[in-house]
């Protein structure tokens, strides 16, 4: 069967089980947009290429399947660089297809030419510049294989226009050998010696903590984690990237560690004698000052990526494998720590003394952002998916929402990409149309990518967006208040400009606003009744609210600051 390169590309995506492409056409990718008309794949036309990338990420994080985005060359390609970098930092499986100028024009500074494989070399797991139509099936199959196996990540395919237009005889690889990836082997057999040494360390431990990172979600190890934690009775902390990997309602769950982590989670890591790190990477937002992080703890570091071992913290046992295999092996070996009663007694004391706290909500407003999140959560169906941008609202969402299952928390962790929330929510809703999707956003973030609500309305993707509108770039304001003597520099945005309700309505969404507690409850009820179009709520929140607990940048986790209402006695 003779196909054009463009037809072969779309057919290859169908072979990989792709049901949705997020994209925006342009000159160099034009040939590929023609066979889309004849394909079963749904194409979602975005309003900016960055939106396509974040939607594909949201889709991937909510479904566990790779997200697919397609854009044109030049500025189309550079506009999707931020999502690619974001996916790289968070190990999100993504396949991004970019159009490229014709082969003969490459290197000639042709119209809308850019070296996107060069630009994305450092922020993709791998990228391809297709050289012939014949290799399209192999490259597409390889891209999906690379994106989804081992440590997942974004893979970019750059397709010159003339190759999309040339003919090829259709074929498709049927085995991994045909992919021709001699340097890639994601299957790492577990080393029995590592397991034995890990079991020894666990057996000697009196104060262990399961330090659960995003890799646990990526390897779908939540069931194994629950079984292992319950049998061993070990306390669990879940990082920002791992929220949902272990139920927040579980009595062994201490919550999120790190810069804005729960006091008990942060302190349990500090006082532990053993950390079992499961797909976590000792990020600076978790460790604080590295020299004083968990100073008395032995480390069992489980990761599929061996380059994570000893990068930040020396491991006592480094197990290169996926999390399911590691937990299965530890379970089979009946790994068991010492009696943890004393350890739990200590942890319970911290939990009672330093719970998550915020000031009493005021009936007439301004609203407490934490109370808004809790009120939305109280009325949300089980399994609701929450996305966020980056900043204070993100930390409050992670702290105050109760995540019970994988794929319900979709956020930008490593890269900290403002504007992630709205497009990621759209992608999540496309991937999980059965679920309610709330984007907890900040006013600063919302302004970066809100135009994708036009996409949501046009494509019939009814997400709900809660803007915690404090009229500021809130996290920067918090730092300026605390560390720059309240010298506020370039952080004021205004609560009224733009008018978020009018803006939402102009984009075909329902726009609502709440200033008082009663209005807050009312608009949430109203939003929950709307299931056909996107809803945007402008919650007017207190500008002076700060995220607590907090460990200052570079400070020791021992110097964690709790909410002012909990201070007064020695921490």
């Amino acid at each position: 069967m003779q196909l054009t390169g463009a037809q072969a590309l779309i057919k290859s995506l169908e072979q990989e089980g792709v049901d949705t492409i997020f994209g925006l056409p342009g000159g160099a990718i034009l040939p590929v947009y023609d066979p889309i008309l004849d394909s079963s794949i749904r194409h979602i036309l975005v309003r900016h290429e960055q939106g396509a990338g974040h939607m594909a990420e949201g889709y991937a994080l909510a479904t566990g399947k790779p997200g697919v985005a397609m854009v044109t060359s030049g500025p189309g390609a550079t506009n999707i660089v931020t999502p690619i970098g974001n996916a790289h930092m968070d190990s999100t499986p993504l396949v991004v297809i970019t159009g490229q100028v014709a082969t003969a024009s490459i290197g000639s500074d042709a119209f809308q030419e850019c070296d996107i494989t060069g630009i994305t070399m450092g922020i993709t797991k791998h990228n391809f510049l297709i050289q012939s139509a014949h290799e399209i099936p192999r490259v597409v199959a390889s891209a999906f294989y690379l994106a989804t196996t081992g440590r997942p990540g974004p893979v970019l395919i750059d397709l010159p226009k003339d190759i999309a237009q040339s003919k090829m005889e259709w074929w498709y690889p049927t085995s991994i050998e045909e992919l021709d990836l001699p340097g890639y082997n994601p299957e790492i057999p577990i080393d029995a010696n590592d397991v034995a040494r890990a079991v020894e360390l666990i057996a000697a431990s009196e104060r262990p903590v399961l330090y659960v990172g995003g890799g646990t979600l990526k390897s779908h190890a939540h069931k194994e984690l629950l079984a292992f934690a319950e049998r061993t009775k070990m306390p669990v902390v879940t990082t920002l990237m791992a929220r949902g990997a272990f139920p927040d309602s579980h009595e062994q769950h201490l919550g999120m560690p790190g810069m804005h982590g729960m006091y008990s989670a942060v302190t349990a890591l500090q006082k532990a004698d053993l950390l079992i790190s499961l797909g976590a990477r000792f990020d600076d937002r978790v460790t604080g000052q590295i020299s004083s992080f968990a100073a008395g703890a032995k480390i069992i570091h489980v990761d599929i990526d061996r380059a994570e071992f000893n990068k930040v913290r020396q491991a006592d046992v480094a197990m290169q494998t996926n999390i399911v295999a590691a937990l299965t092996a530890l379970e089979a070996a009946k790994a068991m720590p010492q009696n943890l009663d004393v350890w739990w007694k200590e942890i319970r004391t911290w939990q009672e003394r330093y719970p998550l706290a915020y000031d009493e909500p005021l009936a007439d407003g301004p609203l407490r952002p934490q109370a808004v999140i809790e009120a939305i959560a109280a009325k949300a169906a089980p399994g609701t998916i929450v996305t966020s941008g980056v900043g204070q609202h993100q930390m409050w969402a992670s702290q105050h929402w109760k995540f019970e299952e994988p794929g319900t928390w979709v956020n930008s962790g490593g890269a900290g990409t403002m504007g992630f929330g709205v497009p990621a929510a759209i992608g999540a809703k496309v991937g999980r149309p059965d679920r309610t999707v709330w984007c907890i956003d900040g006013d600063g973030c919302f302004q970066m990518t809100a135009q994708e609500l036009v996409t949501a309305r046009a494509e019939g993707i009814p997400i709900k967006v809660a803007i915690l509108n404090n009229a500021y770039l809130g996290m920067v304001r918090q730092w300026q208040e605390m560390f720059y003597e309240e010298r506020y520099s370039e952080v004021y945005l205004s609560a009224d400009l733009p008018d978020y309700v009018m803006w939402a309505e102009s984009m075909g969404c329902v726009g609502l606003r709440a200033r008082t507690l009663q209005e807050m409850y009312d608009v949430i009820d109203q939003a929950n009744k709307i299931n056909d179009v996107p809803v945007v709520i402008d919650f007017r929140t207190d500008s002076s609210e700060k995220v607590f607990p907090m460990v200052a940048a570079g400070a020791s986790n021992d110097d964690i600051m709790v909410h002012p209402s909990l201070r007064g006695d020695a921490q």
């Binding site: 494989t117 060069g118 797991k125 791998h126 690379l146 340097g183 380059a307 071992f309 000893n310």
Partner: protein
């Protein structure tokens, strides 16, 4: 992985603690850029680099990289390099386990001090590969330390144009190496 061994040579140009990574890569466009880019963005220092088609196989090339193991832990360098999809295999050679060789070419003026030039060349065991009325081009293939010595000996001459290839290496016979 064991700690890098101190360099056993006597030169002042070579990093005190270097390692030789013999990296087998797919012979595809952009592979060298991937390696160079990785070293640059991770802050690893490359001391020298030599690339050539691998033994009898057009599919692969061999990249010999001399890395400064003080710029980053060797484990990190190898771990990150190994993640490049086009990197097929990495052999890590400590200097004491490696047979290292390098080639030096130098063109010198012989107008004023022909005899001393020839003395230096003879002492170093270098050979003359090109000559005319005013200049000679000499070549030395040998251990990097021998190239260092010849380079130093040539410092006293004027109008020297000198080029070194960077080293290639194979394991010393009878030694085991770690992958």
């Amino acid at each position: 992985m064991t700690a890098p061994e101190p360099y056993l040579g006597t030169t002042n140009r070579t990093p005190v603690r270097h390692h030789i990574l013999s990296v087998l890569v797919e012979n595809k466009a952009g592979v060298l850029a991937r390696i160079a880019g990785l070293f640059a963005r991770r802050g690893f220092n490359i001391y020298s680099l030599a690339v050539a088609p691998a033994e009898g196989n057009a599919r692969f090339s061999r990249v010999t990289i001399v890395v400064d193991a003080e710029s980053a832990p060797l484990e990190q360098i190898v771990g990150q390099l190994n993640k490049l999809v086009n990197v097929v295999a990495i052999t890590d050679l400590a200097p004491k386990d490696a047979m290292e060789r390098e080639l030096l070419l130098a063109t010198l003026s012989i107008v004023n001090d022909r005899s001393s030039v020839l003395d230096v060349v003879a002492n170093a065991g270098a050979s003359i590969v090109d000559v005319n009325a005013t200049s000679v081009t000499v070549m030395l293939a040998g251990p990097p330390s021998a190239c260092d010595q010849l380079e130093k000996a040539l410092e006293s001459f004027t109008e020297v144009e000198l080029q070194r290839t960077g080293r290639v290496a194979l394991p010393r016979l009878g030694q085991t190496v770690s992958a």
